[in-house]
Amino acid sequence: MDFAWSDQQRELLDAVGRFATQQLNYDVIENDREGVFNHDAWKKCGDFGIQGLLVPTDYGGLGTDPLTTVAALERLGYGCKDNGLLFSINAHMWTAIIPLVYNGSEAQKKKYLPGLSNGTLIGGNAMSEPNSGSDAFSLSTTVTKKNSKYILNGSKIFVTNGPIADLLVVFATVDKTRGPNGISAFLVEKNSPGMNVARKLEKMGLRTSPMAEVFFENCEVPVENLLGKEGGGAFLFTRSMTWERGCILASAVGSMQRLLERCIRYANERKQGGQSIGKYQLVASKIVDMKVRVESSRHMLYHYAWLSGRRKAVYLEAAMTKLYISDCWVKCCEDAIQIHGGYGYMTEYEVERELRDAIGSKLYSGTSEIQRNIVASMLGL
C-alpha cells in the first residue's frame, strides 16, 4: 500500500482544505438550531467540484479515484464544521451519483450527471420504510407496469435530502414474496405526479441536512427512468451501500482531526491548579486516545479506498470501516466535550454539536449491529 500523495493529489487536497475552511463556515450554529439547509454553501461546493469528484469527466465531473476522493472528503470534513451539509453531500454522492455512474443508461447519465456534479441538482435515495430498515429488502413499496409507465405505491421514511431533492432513486418491489429479486430502482424527479414529500423530520443531530417522509400514491414514472434492470434493485442498492459505508465517514476523520487539534490547543491554554490542563495525565491520556483513533480511522479509510480503487472486493472492508470510524467519532466527540468541561457543553463552543452530529453515524448506512452482522458473516459465522 502506498498512500504517498503525488504533487497533483496534494495540490487538489490543499485546495479542498482551504476552500472548506474559508468558504463554508457561516451561520452554522443558527442553521443547526433552526434546522436550515445551507443552499448557498451547497452551490459553492458544486461550483468548486466536490459533488463531481467521482463522476467521470465525460459527464461533467473530475473522475478522481476512490483514494483521492476520500482524502478530499476528509479535508472537507476538517475544514467545514457543517456536518449536516456534508451528510447531504454524502447522500447525494453515494445514493444518487454512484448508482447512476454504475447502472445508468447513457441517456440517464447525460441527463442527470452534469447537474448532479455541479450542484444544480440535488439527489438522494428512498429505501427505508416504516417497517423495513435493517431488513431493507423486505420493503413493501410496490411497482406495477401499466401502459409504458411504472406505477409506484407505498411510503418511505428517513429520506435524506427528501425536502430538497430534485431526483430520488426509489426502490420498489413487483412482488414482496420474491424478496431481493423482486426489487427494482427508479429515478423519480421531484414533483412527479403522485409523489408527496411529507413532513420534514426533526432530528437530534445533522439538523442542517433535511430529511423527510415521502409517499407514493399511484406515482407515475416513465419507463426510461428504470435504473438498471428490472429486479436489479437489490444488487444496485448493495453496491451503492458498499460505497457509502466505505466513504461516508471520510469527513468524520477530518472532523476528528479538527477536534483533536482544538483539544490540544485548549489543553495547552487552559490553566488549572497552576498548570496547563494538558499536563494532567487524565487529560493528556484522552488526547492520546483521540490521536490514536484519528490515525487508525484514517488508515482504515485509506485502506478501504485503496482496495476499492484496485477493484478488489471491499464488502467486508466497507462494513469494518463504517463500524470502526463511527465508534471512534462518537468517542472523540465525548472526549472533546470532557476536555473542554462546562464550556464543551455550551452550544457556542461548537463541540456539543459535533457529538449530536456524530451519533447518527452508528445508525445510518446500516446500524453498527448490521455492520457487525456483515463482518461476522464474512468470517464464516
Binding site: L12, A15, Q257
Partner: protein, 251 residues
C-alpha cells in the same frame, strides 16, 4: 490587448500552524494584493476588454505551485523567471521591466505591495524604469477612449482620488478592488494543461545585483503583562510617568 500580472509567492498569512499537532508546515500562497490584481485582470478579460492575461513571477521551481494556482484561477499562461536569490525591489523591477519589453502588454496590474516585506516599491520603480504612467492603490479600474486610457480610483489618506492614465500603464491594486475568486477543482485540472515558460536573467539580458541587504529579522519584543491599578489617580500617574503617553500639563 494583453494584461501582464506580476505576482509574488509569500508565506500564507492565514496559515495557523498548531504547535504540537504537526499537521502542516508553513505554506506559500500568492501575495493577496497580487491575487486581487489577477482577479481584476480576469474580470477585464471576461468582460471582453482584453484577450489575454499573462502571469509572471520570479523564483525557484517551488513557486510553480503558486503559478498553477494563478493558472487555475484563469490566467492564460505564465512565465517564471528562474532566480532563487533574495532580490530587493529594484532588482525585481529591473527583471519585470525586461519581461514587459518582451511581452509588450497594454497594461500591467500588480499588487501595491507584498505582505511579507511590505516594501510597496516595485510598481512605482517599474513605471519609472519603463517611463510609463502609474496609478497606485487602485480600488476601481475603467477603460476609456477605445481602451487608450484608464480611469482609476485611488484610495488615499485624503479620500478617493480619481486619476486618468494613458495606456500602457502600471496599475497597483488595493484591498477593496475586488474579492478574488476561489480556485475550483475543475480549474486546477485545466491549469495542468496550460504552459509555464521558464526564463532566466541571462535570457532576458538583465544583470541585477541587490542594492540593499537585509541584516537581520527579529520578532517584536513580547508585551509585558498588564498591572492592576487601585484608582483613577494611580492610572493617570502611570500613564504620565511610566507609559509617558500623557503630558504632565494636561488637565
Amino acid at each position: 490587448m494583453k494584461i501582464l500580472v506580476p505576482f509574488k509567492s509569500v508565506p500564507d498569512p492565514n496559515d495557523a500552524t498548531v504547535a504540537g499537532a504537526a499537521v502542516s508546515t508553513p505554506k506559500s500562497v500568492i501575495n493577496p494584493f497580487d491575487e486581487i490584481a489577477i482577479e481584476e485582470a480576469l474580470r477585464i478579460r471576461e468582460r471582453g476588454e482584453v484577450s489575454e492575461v499573462v502571469g509572471v513571477t520570479i523564483g525557484a521551481p517551488a513557486v510553480d505551485e503558486q503559478i498553477r494556482a494563478a493558472l487555475a484561477m484563469g490566467v492564460d499562461r505564465a512565465i517564471r523567471i528562474d532566480d532563487s536569490r533574495a532580490l530587493d525591489p529594484y532588482a525585481v523591477a529591473r527583471i519585470l521591466g525586461a519581461v514587459v519589453e518582451k511581452e509588450a502588454p497594454d497594461v500591467v496590474i500588480m499588487g501595491k505591495q507584498a505582505v511579507d516585506d511590505d516594501s510597496n516599491q516595485v510598481g512605482q520603480m517599474l513605471a519609472g524604469l519603463l517611463g510609463w504612467p502609474q496609478a497606485t492603490f487602485v480600488s476601481k479600474i475603467e477603460f476609456l477612449d477605445n481602451k487608450t486610457r484608464a480611469r482609476c480610483t485611488r484610495e488615499t489618506d485624503a479620500g478617493l482620488e480619481v486619476v486618468e492614465v494613458d495606456l500602457p500603464a502600471i496599475i497597483t491594486t488595493d484591498l477593496r478592488l475586488n474579492e478574488p475568486r476561489y480556485v475550483s477543482l475543475p480549474g486546477l485540472m485545466r491549469a495542468r494543461r496550460k504552459p509555464i515558460e521558464v526564463l532566466n536573467c541571462d535570457q532576458l539580458g538583465v544583470t541585477v545585483r541587490p542594492l540593499t541587504t537585509v541584516l537581520s529579522i527579529a520578532r517584536p519584543p513580547r508585551r509585558a503583562a498588564g498591572t492592576r491599578v487601585e484608582s483613577i489617580e494611580e492610572l493617570m500617574a502611570k500613564l504620565r510617568q511610566e507609559a509617558k503617553v500623557l503630558s504632565q500639563y494636561v488637565f
